[in-house]
């Protein structure tokens, strides 16, 4: 079980410590950890998530410039430690409206309160944001206004959450809400890998069904798809009933209030991608000519937006001179080159070309960059998944229902 959690800044400074058990963990462990980070190159995002120090086993998670470090001295499921830290990061992001050093330092009282409710004696209690929100109110402007107006200066609700005593742990038993609406979003990420000769090595979609529900009472929802057979490897929010899905592929659930991830899925072995990126590199006596072409391969029917192409120049490149006929090209200090294209114009296909000067002594390029592509398409789920209908039972009046879809690039790589 976890004995202590530290928050460290990305420069190794201890921002916060929360001891969980009677076995105090000394802060010196953070110094050990930071020395370890430095010995591994100093980049916290490249450190193993589970490491053994001479005295403790450490779990670490790096999110938005903050290192979450948990210590234990006993054997425990590693994923439990890592998942818990992920939840801590998620809940804090949710509460503080972001995650950075200043936000944590300004709100450390709330952070302490949250950690207190999320874990007792090293054992995780509740990490469900809906329940936590009822125990510790958000530090947002509304509550600040309220406290000024009413003179009640407390960010702790005085009543205990009903859900702690409910058999649906994710929802209050009796909710009265002014709004009566539910939104379903399909958010898909396309992962694709193209090999050196342009062949599609792998193409999958990782999708999430996100629901934003503001419904009064205890509504019972059923969501069905026109083509559920394309889905693979589903994972469900605890509210989803397993049997209806097993027999009829219907999602039947009582939703928690607010935003949540209803289901995640994967659609495998897709055959086509919306855009193509064709890099060409030709070396010649210490110079390397580079040319990248981008264009639409399969028109998804909606505009393809925010197209970017990013790649790391090999370390043996001494200087680079890159120009494009559309969009802007930036070369950062760490030799990352990013080309933001935006939308593809109708009259021409964007291309990037230029010359890389290699370090003296090198005749040709041996290391080839990988091009990472980003894009966003609103209004379409590229996997082809379609929502058939959403039924709501137990609702006092017919609520407003909204549907949206979005596809963006995940790990979209083109090798050269």
């Amino acid at each position: 079980m976890l004995q202590c959690i530290f928050f460290l800044s990305d420069s190794g400074e201890v921002m916060l410590e929360k001891q969980m058990t009677g076995h105090r963990v000394d802060r010196s462990i953070c110094a050990w950890f930071w020395d370890y980070v430095l010995s591994q190159g100093g980049d916290p995002s490249k450190i193993l998530p589970v490491i053994a120090s001479p005295t403790h086993y450490l779990f670490q998670l790096f999110r938005d410039g903050i290192i979450f470090l948990a210590c234990t001295q006993v054997e425990m499921p590693p994923l439990m430690g890592i998942e818990f830290l992920c939840r801590v990061a998620d809940v804090l992001t949710d509460y503080l409206g972001g995650l950075n050093e200043d936000l944590i330092k300004d709100n450390f009282i709330i952070v302490y309160e949250l950690l207190d409710e999320m874990m007792d004696n090293g054992f995780p209690l509740t990490t469900e944001p809906n329940i936590l929100r009822e125990m510790i109110t958000l530090p947002n402007i509304v509550s600040k206004m309220l406290s000024v107006v009413t003179g009640k200066n407390s960010n702790v609700s005085t009543r205990l959450p009903d859900a702690t005593a409910s058999c649906i742990p994710w929802r209050k038993t009796n909710m009265k809400l002014a709004s009566n609406e539910v939104y379903v979003n399909l958010v898909e990420e396309m992962d694709a890998v193209f090999s050196r000769d342009g062949a599609l090595v792998k193409c999958e979609i990782y999708g999430e069904v996100q629901v934003d529900s503001h419904l009064p009472g205890l509504p019972d929802l059923t969501l069905s798809f026109s083509n559920p057979s394309i889905l693979n490897d589903m994972r469900f929010h605890p509210c989803v009933r397993f049997r209806p899905w097993e027999s009829d592929q219907i999602l039947s659930f009582v939703p928690p209030d607010g935003e949540f991830k209803l289901m995640t899925y994967r659609v495998k072995k897709l055959k086509s991608t919306p855009i193509y990126v064709k890099p060409q590199l030709t070396s010649d006596t210490g110079n390397c000519h580079i040319n990248v072409l981008v264009g639409v391969r399969n028109d998804p029917g909606k505009t393809i937006d925010s197209i970017t192409v990013q790649f790391q120049l090999p370390f043996c490149v001494a200087s680079a001179n890159l120009t494009s006929n559309h969009g802007t090209v930036n070369i950062l200090a760490d030799k990352t080159c990013s080309w933001s294209i935006g939308q593809i114009p109708k009259d021409k296909s964007p291309s990037l070309s230029g010359n890389l000067v290699l370090e003296t002594g090198l005749d040709r390029l041996h290391v080839f960059p990988v091009f990472q592509v980003g894009f966003k398409i609103m209004g379409v789920a590229l996997s082809g998944l379609q929502i058939h209908k959403l039924d709501i039972k137990n609702a006092p009046s017919q609520p407003y229902k909204g549907f949206r879809a979005l596809t963006q690039a995940g790990e979209y790589e083109v090798r050269s």
Binding site: L79, D191, R235
Partner: protein, 842 residues
């Protein structure tokens, strides 16, 4: 040292929290507010509390304000209360007398009408952890367990565990475990049930060693009744509690197969839970339940495959690493089940390198006839990767696949293409692989040698690669026209060659080449032997002398020793024994899997507090050997061969004794990977003493070499130890308690050493010869434990204390060093390690 604390960013006071003045200022302000009932007093208190807590957070000691904080704690504001609880919880331990002050208001809060405050107060009360305040805990805890609010009961349940850790006797005397047990079976709230289960498990586990009853209670937790009761409620539990329940079920021993299927049916939907920890815990249950049913076990693998692969793909890289480690374990156990999923293990550019490394290992494992082509194609793409370590790793993976497969035709071509890439690290890795390939598939020598022959030895810098190239030059010198001349030029640059490994290989290669092409190599061999005899490295010197004497004795015997016909290596030995793999598998869903070591190899008493050391040392036999100085082996060139043969006898049942070192030359750089036994047999089977054709030339060559005798002395270590160091056990114990561990590391023990370690005394005597004394030892095969000490020879009497745990089954020693002078401990560790590695060899 911790990094210097930064000042809080938005401190209401402009002054910096520089030290005492700031704290005393706070104290003063708090005191003024303590009795104040003025409107707005709460607001100013809140600001002050916030400052106090922020100082505490950045690591400034504000415990001086304890009494003032307690005075201000009478408030109805819950945030103030929480801050106060936090402060008190942090400092109560170092101010037990002041902590008494807080008991009063905490106890009062335990009767508050708001269940939230009751719960918080009870939690804080139990978190004070001051032993002499235990008596005040019992009553509020008892009331808390019967509270009407589930929140309070939940806190109280964990409170019982906190009480147990402060004072186990009080906890057991108050009969809290029994109350918890009934609460666990009756409470309507799932979180209360989960907390009771958690606490009971921990208490009974710790108590089980002490009393019969406790271990019986621990058994009942695993009884069918309780397990089923909890399983039937599993959907009410939150995700973390589900993990706990699943851990419990994994230990449950089902009565029959119906039992197994009932549980699996009940838990099947847990495999699709959004929380990875739940999924993994469920998988553990499934694997454990079906362990004895081979066919169902296979089906379980099929069933859990998809959820695991999904978990890898979703979530952060940290999560996927933990999942991949488990997947890695399963893949290694049943590679063929995953052979069609190979695309899941393709590396993404953005994967961190630790994830890439695991993926590469799995790709290697699952390669079979049907997917090898795709996998090798993919791996070859990584060879041009920007990430050099991964590029190297993927070349090695290609080589490993080649060694696994029967159809290596295409792979050899690919490897040879790597050599043409003219990238130094690619060439280096490939050379090592080609060498291994040739040892397994000598029939490929023709194609490989043609390409290898074109590589200029100047382009190969890495010792391993250079050694591999030299090995090939020696082994296939008959097929490479300019082999003797390449060797000759390498030998000319002997002094510039830093790696002993390369020099050893040069010697052997020169010998081999000499037997095949004597006239051309004679000069080079002479130069090599001369340089070898003059070498300062002991092994190189030894080998040169050995070859020299061997040639002098009989050239035909020398040829039989150095250049026997070899059988192709059929299987390269695995680095990890299957026993260890099984142990790790039993510990599925634990840290063992991530570290790829069974837990006994890393959790051994690590987390014990120092005071437990005394009882530990009491169990060991004290000072078995009088402190003395046994004679050291004084080696001179004269008796070197003699002592070698003696050593072999001492070494006991080891297969590769020093006598075999002549032909075992190629194994030196890879001895852990090579199975030697087949070669040993083939060598002893040779009985034909037919004279080689070139005997006369050889004797001539040897005559040239006569008259060379150079004695070599190894470089003296910078740290010298006092051979007559003395320390009494009491002082040792005290020092051990005081000093911090400066080095904690694993090192390996040679197979000969393991063979010689039948009793602790063997190692003790050996270490004494190296001026490292033993103060206590104990244990029996396979685990031995030693406490050693040593003293620095000159200067003030500085001691090094060592705890050394040798595990003979894994051939590993865990060494922990504490030192009076921590800066010297690195050097001492070097000495210790070299002494340990010589054990059984000398």
């Amino acid at each position: 040292m911790a990094p210097p604390p930064a000042p809080p960013q938005k401190s209401p006071s402009p002054s910096q929290p520089s030290g005492k003045s700031e704290v005393s200022d706070l104290k003063l302000q708090l005191r003024q507010l303590a009795g104040s009932r003025a409107p707005g007093a709460d607001d100013s208190k809140r600001d002050l509390f916030k400052r106090v807590i922020s100082y505490m957070t950045v690591g400034i000691d504000v415990s001086a304000a304890f009494s003032e904080m307690v005075m201000c704690s009478a408030t109805s504001d819950i945030v103030l209360k929480k801050m106060c609880y936090l402060y008190v919880g942090n400092y109560a331990r170092c101010h037990p007398d002041l902590a008494l002050l807080t008991i009063n208001f905490l106890q009062k809060d335990c009767h508050d009408e708001d269940p939230m405050i009751r719960g918080l107060a009870l939690r804080s009360l139990c978190s004070l952890r001051v032993p002499n305040l235990v008596e005040y805990l019992v009553a509020p805890l008892g009331a808390g367990l019967k509270d009407g609010s589930s929140y309070v009961r939940m806190v109280a349940a964990v409170g019982v565990l906190k009480l147990y850790h402060i004072s186990a006797a009080t906890c057991l005397d108050s009969d809290f475990p029994a109350v918890l047990k009934s609460l666990m079976l009756t409470d309507p709230d799932a979180q209360v049930v989960a907390n009771c289960l958690f606490v009971l498990q921990e208490i009974w586990n710790l108590e089980a060693n002490k009393s019969e009853e406790a271990s019986r209670e621990r058994e009942t937790l695993l009884s069918k009744k309780i397990v089923y009761y909890i399983l039937n409620r599993i959907k009410e539990f939150n995700e973390w509690a589900q993990c706990l329940v699943l851990e419990l079920v994994a230990k449950y021993i089902p009565s029959d197969t119906d039992d197994i299927f009932d549980i699996m049916n009940l838990l099947e939907d847990r495999l699709q839970h959004a929380n990875g920890a739940v999924v993994l815990a469920t998988i553990k249950v499934f694997l454990h339940l079906t362990m004895s049913m081979t066919d169902v076990h296979q089906q379980v693998y099929e069933r859990i495959k998809a959820p695991l692969l999904t978990l890898v793909g979703s979530g952060s890289s940290e999560q996927s690493y933990a999942v991949l480690s488990h997947l890695h374990l399963l893949v290694m156990r049943a590679p063929m089940l995953f052979s069609s999923d190979y695309k899941h293990f393709y590396c993404q550019f953005s994967d961190p390198s630790y994830v890439k490394k695991l993926k590469l290992e799995m790709l290697t494992a699952i390669a079979n006839e049907s997917n090898t082509y795709e996998i090798v194609t993919e791996l070859c793409e990584y060879a041009g990767n920007v990430d050099v370590p991964i590029a190297r790793e993927s070349i090695r993976a290609v080589g490993k696949i080649a060694l696994q497969q029967y159809d290596v035709n295409a792979i050899v071509d690919r490897l040879l293409q790597f050599l043409e890439m003219e990238k130094d690290y690619v060439t280096a890795e490939t050379l090592v692989l080609v060498k291994d390939l040739l040892r397994k598939y000598p029939q490929w020598s023709h194609d490989c040698i043609a390409v290898v022959g074109n590589i200029s030895s100047k382009n190969v810098q890495e010792p391993k690669a250079k050694a591999a190239l030299i090995w090939m030059l020696g082994e296939y010198s008959q097929d490479m026209p300019d082999a003797p001349y390449i060797l000759e030029s390498l030998i000319e640059n002997w002094d510039e060659e830093n790696a002993a490994e390369v020099r050893l290989h040069l010697l052997t290669a020169a010998m081999k080449c000499f037997f095949k092409r004597p006239p051309e190599t004679q000069k080079a061999l002479g130069a090599a032997l001369a340089a070898g005899l003059a070498d300062s490295h002991q092994d190189v010197h030894d080998r040169a002398l050995f070859y020299y004497r061997l040639l002098q004795y009989d050239v035909s015997v020398a040829e039989r020793v150095v250049n026997p016909p070899k059988q192709a290596v059929s299987v390269f030995a695995d680095t990890q024994s299957s026993e260890i793999k099984d142990r790790i598998f039993d510990e599925f869903n634990s840290l063992s899997v991530v570290y790829q070591k069974p837990s006994y190899m890393f959790t051994d008493k690590e987390h014990r507090e120092p005071f437990e050391f005394s009882e530990e040392i009491g169990n060991l036999s004290l000072g078995q050997e009088p402190v003395g100085n046994s004679p050291r082996y004084d080696e001179s060139d004269k008796d070197l061969l003699l002592s070698t043969s003696e050593r072999e006898e001492n070494g006991g049942p080891s297969t590769n004794g020093p006598a075999a070192s002549g032909y075992s030359a190629p194994t030196d750089y890879n001895s852990s990977l090579v199975s030697l036994s087949s070669q040993t047999q083939s060598e002893t089977a040779i009985s034909d003493p037919g004279m080689p054709k070139y005997t006369s030339q050889m004797t001539l060559a040897i005559d040239d070499l006569l008259g060379l005798s150079v004695s070599a002395a190894p470089a003296p270590p910078s740290l010298k130890l006092n051979p007559k160091a003395a320390l009494d056990p009491g002082t040792f114990q005290r020092k051990w308690g005081q000093l911090a561990v400066s080095i904690s590391q694993d090192c390996s023990v040679s197979p000969q050493g393991i063979a010689a370690l039948t009793t602790p005394q063997a190692l003790i005597r050996h270490m004494q010869a190296n001026s490292i004394q033993c103060i206590a030892s104990g244990g029996q095969s396979p685990n031995f434990k030693f406490f050693f000490f040593a003293q620095k020879l000159d200067g003030p009497p500085l001691f090094f204390l060592v705890e050394c745990i040798v595990n003979t089954s894994s051939a590993k020693a865990q060494v922990k060093i504490k030192a009076d002078d921590a800066t010297a401990s690195e050097a001492f560790f070097g000495l210790f390690q070299s002494a340990l590695s010589k054990f059984g060899v000398l």
